[in-house]
Each structure stands twice: as structure tokens, then as C-alpha cells.
């Protein structure tokens, strides 16, 4: 049984906040990704779980036992460090065998060799076993670090941005391999990353953290389509989500007039959106919409006007930045075959189904229209 419970974990480094009041539950065999920008507190959280750092407040439980008093060596936790932390004086084989020779494990030599070879083959580094680690590429070092963690068959895996120092192509293929591996191994894993694609594709659930505090925990779709706050919405997606202030007038059961981006238009809404909007004091609201949902060019939906500020072709898609009538910049993702000249006048629109409503003061999520089956 290797579920993890973090309760109110707090750690300050002098005046600097590492994490504050972090409460998180990870189910047995669950793969949880912890996502946040640099300095968010991700590594601190991992170090607290591993026991490398002791918390100022709060506790860590594995299953039903509290591990706060246990040394890292006794927690049966394996960690893959962002810097790999391989032993420089050893070969690949010796690095992977080192944990198995420790007083905690003390396996017989034959079994050590068998396990090391098994995982080396799985990670495709079996031809490198006798190489000193200085002679390895980054990708090979990363696999060795992974192998060193795997051979122990621990209760919990902790991974600190294992793919961040790999080139994009390798990162992509390793991501797929990790996904496959976790299916095979079935160990409770906490995976830390600053890449939202990794967080969403690998995790059963995603925990979003920033400034030392957990902002939201949920399934990848939940976090992406129903972000708890504007901050969470901004952390996911590239280009970043568009957030604009809007004034709502004349709210009725099925429509409301929206004043935003220098224009006014009538927005069709549903009953639950209307009732959620009841909770807002005042008539302003924060609207969020993803660049990929922006419709550019003439058809019925494009009721907003603007001028092209910049156009970046990126292959299959292009990023278009539009100066709206009121001056706010709107980012849109358009198909790669289209092209736009800078300073060209343009019409665009945002479908009602892709709008997310946020409370203007607390920036918390209010409501969005329900996504229908088969929505992209």
C-alpha cells in the first residue's frame, strides 16, 4: 500500500517561502504530475516527501504510517533528480548496482547483476554498462538515473523534471516511453515538471503549484478546461490564454450584452451560466478564451475588429497577435496555410462555447459553457 498523504506541509528557507500549507493526496499506484513554473516549490515538495528536507510544519504519510521521523534511507522512496546526481566515479553498471549493495538492501551479487541487466535492457542502455558516466550523452545519463531508481523497486517514485535537459525530439520519445513504462511498473509516482504538455499527458491527475501553494488538483481535462483561477488558466497553453475584462449588461435568461475589447455584442448563455453570474457583485467579469478557439476572418461569428500586430508562422499553426479596437492584444492560433500581413485590418470572434468566466476580484473560476462530446 503506497498511497501518499501530505498534510499542511510548510517549509521556509529563511525568509523565502519554499512551500506553505501543501495538502495533497496521492492514491496507490497513481501517477500524479506536479506542475508549476520555476521557483514554484516543486522540488521542495519532492524533497519533503523523500525526507531530504524536514518541514517546518505538517506531516507526510505513506499509507497509514507517518514517515516524518524516518531518514531518507528508510522511506523506501526512489528519486530521479533533475541533475541526475549520478556517481561520477562509477560506471553505468556500478551506478545502478550501488543502491542494491547498500545496508538497506544487501542483495547477493547474482541477484544484483540480474536486476541491473533487466532494467538496463528495458531502458536500452545494456550496451553501456561498462562505460564511465562522463562518457554518456544527456539522454543516456537520464536513463541511467532512471535505471538506478527502478532497480530498487521502491514504494514511491519521485521524478524531478527528468526530461527538462533533453532536446525536444528526445523529450517527446522519452515521454512516450515513460507512459509505457508506468503501465508496466504500476508504482505510485509523483512527477514534477514545468512543461504543461508533460504534465497533462503523463498524469492521472495534475497538481498545479505556484509560489509555494497548491492552486488546483484535478484530472488534466479539468485543469485545462475548468481552471480554478486565472493564474492556473495562464499556466496551461502556449500561446497563453487571453484574459480580458468585460462588462455585462442586460442579463436575461438566454443572452447578455457583453462589452469587451472595445466592442459590444450579444452573447447567448445557458441557465447555469446565468445563475453562476448571479454570484458576481457588480457588472464586470473576467473572460478567458484560448488562442486556438479564436475564429479569425469573415464568417458569421466574427464580430470583433482589430489590426494585426504580429504574425509568427510556426509550421502547422501560426500565432497571430491582434490589436483590438480598445488596444488590448489578443493572441490567436490559426491554421498554418493562412497568412496575414502586419497592420492589416481584421475581423475575429470568440465562440460562446469557449469562453471561461472568472470572478473579477478573486480571479476564481465561475463557469463556462459545457463542452459537447467530440469538441476539439
Amino acid at each position: 500500500m503506497a498511497s501518499i498523504l501530505l498534510s499542511g506541509l510548510t517549509k521556509f528557507y529563511g525568509k523565502r517561502r519554499g512551500v506553505e500549507d501543501v495538502t495533497l493526496e496521492v492514491g496507490d499506484q497513481e501517477f500524479l504530475t506536479v506542475f508549476g513554473p520555476a521557483g514554484a516549490g516543486k522540488t521542495t515538495t519532492l524533497n519533503l516527501i523523500a525526507g531530504i528536507v524536514t518541514p517546518d510544519r505538517g506531516s507526510v504519510r505513506f499509507g497509514d504510517r507517518t514517515v516524518d521521523a524516518l531518514e531518507p534511507a528508510d522511506r523506501n522512496v526512489a528519486m530521479v533528480f533533475e541533475s541526475y546526481a549520478l556517481y561520477p566515479q562509477f560506471t553505468v553498471y556500478e551506478n545502478m548496482a550501488f543502491p542494491l549493495k547498500s545496508p538497506k538492501h544487501r542483495l547477493p551479487a547474482a541477484e544484483v547483476e540480474q536486476r541491473v541487466r533487466h532494467f538496463a535492457t528495458m531502458l536500452k542502455i545494456d550496451h553501456l554498462l561498462n562505460r564511465p558516466i562522463q562518457a554518456l550523452s544527456n539522454g543516456q545519463r537520464q536513463r541511467t538515473a532512471l535505471g538506478r531508481a527502478l532497480v530498487r523497486r521502491p514504494d514511491v517514485f519521485l521524478m524531478d523534471e527528468p526530461l527538462s535537459h533533453l532536446d525536444a525530439k528526445l523529450r517527446h520519445s522519452m515521454r512516450a516511453e515513460l507512459k509505457e513504462m508506468r503501465g508496466q511498473l504500476g508504482t505510485t509516482t509523483i512527477y514534477v515538471t514545468h512543461d504543461y504538455l508533460e504534465a497533462m499527458s503523463l498524469g492521472d491527475r495534475v497538481a498545479v503549484i505556484n509560489h509555494g501553494q497548491i492552486l488546483q488538483v484535478g484530472k488534466p481535462e479539468e485543469v485545462y478546461f475548468h481552471p480554478a483561477t486565472v493564474e492556473v488558466a495562464q499556466l496551461f497553453g502556449d500561446p497563453e490564454i487571453n484574459i480580458v475584462d468585460a462588462k455585462l449588461r442586460n442579463r436575461q435568461a438566454t443572452s447578455v450584452r457583453v462589452q469587451a475589447l472595445g466592442e459590444e455584442w450579444s452573447l447567448p448563455i445557458t441557465a447555469d451560466i446565468s445563475s453562476a453570474l448571479d454570484r458576481v457583485t457588480g457588472d464586470t467579469v473576467c473572460l478567458g478564451f484560448r488562442p486556438a478557439d479564436v475564429v479569425v476572418g469573415g464568417n458569421g461569428n466574427s464580430n470583433l475588429r482589430g489590426v494585426v500586430y504580429s504574425f509568427e508562422p510556426l509550421g502547422t499553426k501560426s500565432v497571430l497577435t491582434i490589436d483590438s479596437v480598445a488596444g488590448q492584444r489578443v493572441r490567436a492560433l490559426v491554421d498554418g496555410h493562412r497568412s496575414f500581413d502586419v497592420d492589416r485590418r481584421i475581423e475575429f470572434g470568440v465562440p460562446a462555447s469557449s469562453l471561461i468566466f472568472f470572478d473579477p476580484e478573486s480571479t476564481r473560476y465561475l463557469v463556462r459553457s459545457a463542452r459537447t462530446e467530440g469538441d476539439d
Binding site: P72, R75, S83, A85, F98, P103, I133
Partner: protein, 275 residues
Amino acid sequence: MNRSRSPLAKIGKTLQIFLLLFYALFALFPLLWMFIMSIKPDSQMLTTTFIFTPTLENYATVLHSDYMQFFCNNLIVSVAAVLVSLVVGAPAAYALARFQFKLKEDIAFTILSFRFAPEILVILPLYLIYQRLGLYDTYFGLIWVYQLITLPLLIWILRGFFEDISPDIEAAAQLDGYSWWQVFLRVLLPLVKPGLVAAGLLCFIFAWNSFTFPLLLSNNVQTSTVIALRYLASDTVHYGQVAAAAAISALPEVILALLIQKHLVRGLSFGAVKG
């Protein structure tokens, strides 16, 4: 560099080589002179320079006396001092590198400051203390006072090496199931080995060459540095024998340095290997 050089650059390079050669000669000349002195008979010492009849009599005289006993004393005291410094200094260097505590930099500076004070400055109070404690003229006393020479150097060199090792490696070893002490012995010490070698050798050289401390804090338990003085007898100065004694005394350091040359260069320039 394969690009064709301008004449000015060529002259610069030649000048560089010439200057380096000159400096090498300048630095090595005293050793050469000492060696020449040691194989010159006393009669020709002051009358000739490079042309003389070489003799091994100086060496014979020195070796047949009780000189070797003092040579051994020096060896015992210096090696022991370095070993004590290693055992004490390595954990101290680690603590200074890794932990945060009040007055850390003050303590570090205080340790280094032991090297600033000329030995003559502190020798009188030390003499009185040693007499009082009964440490005068003992091996133990000398080894202990040599720590003033060897320990600061060792701690400062090793501290840099420990700082170069990523703390992640220690954390990884702990997670792998090793206690702190085992991590220190099996993972950290091998990684600072170049530093241990470099610092150990430098400390040995300083301890070996030490003169003031054994001169004033010891009498019968004497080192070869002080004993070489003996040959400055009251009637005449046997320069040849002094030189022979000095040459024999210099031998261990030179041999050691040549043997560990490779480690020394790496130890002093690169620092510990990064993981």
C-alpha cells in the same frame, strides 16, 4: 594553432619561451647550487665555482653520523601531522562547505588566519605553554603544533572541493540506503581524492620544512631541518655537509611531488568532478 603567424607574434612567442626558461633556471638554480656544494670538498668551497673535484665525502660524513635518526623523526612527525590533519580537516571542510551556522565565515577565517601569523610571533607563548603542559620535546607536542601549519591549508583546499560536489549526489546516496557516514566515506571522499592528494602533499611539504617550531619547542626529538644547523660548527662552517644534509632532506619532497605530479595539477586546477 595553425594560422600563419605574423613576425611580431613569432617574436612574442619566442620571448615568452625565453622568459619562461629564464625563470625556470632562476627557480632551480638554488637547488643546483646546493647540489654542487654538497659534492664539493670543503677545501675548494670558497675558491672555485663550477670546476672542482667532486667528492662524496660530505654525504658519507652526514650519513655516518646520527643524521638518519633525525631524518626519521622528521618523517614521523610530518606524516603523522598530515594524517591527523586529514582525519580532522576533512569533516571540518565538509561542515564548512555544506552547513549553515552562525559565525561560519568567521570560524573559517580564523582557521585560515593561523597561517598568517609568522611562527616567531607565537613561539614564545607557545614555548611557555608547552613547558607547562609537559609537551616540550615530545613527538606528540610537535605533531600537535604542526597542525597550525597543516590544518588551515587542508581545510581551505578541501572546502572548495566539497563545495563543488552537487548536494544532490549525497541525497541520492542517502535515498539509496546509506547512512551519512557511509555516504561520506564511500561517495564523497573518493570524489575529493584529487583535493586530498594535493592538500596532503602541500601540507607535508610545509610540515617537513618547518624550522621554528622544532627549533624552539623540541630538543632531542629533533627534525632534520634543525639538525642541519649543527654543521655550522664553532670553528668552521662545513658548507658541504650542510648542503649534503639539506639535499638528503629535500629528497622525500621532491620524489613525492614528482610521483603525484599528475594528481597535483588536477587537484589544484580542476576541482572535483561534477556528476
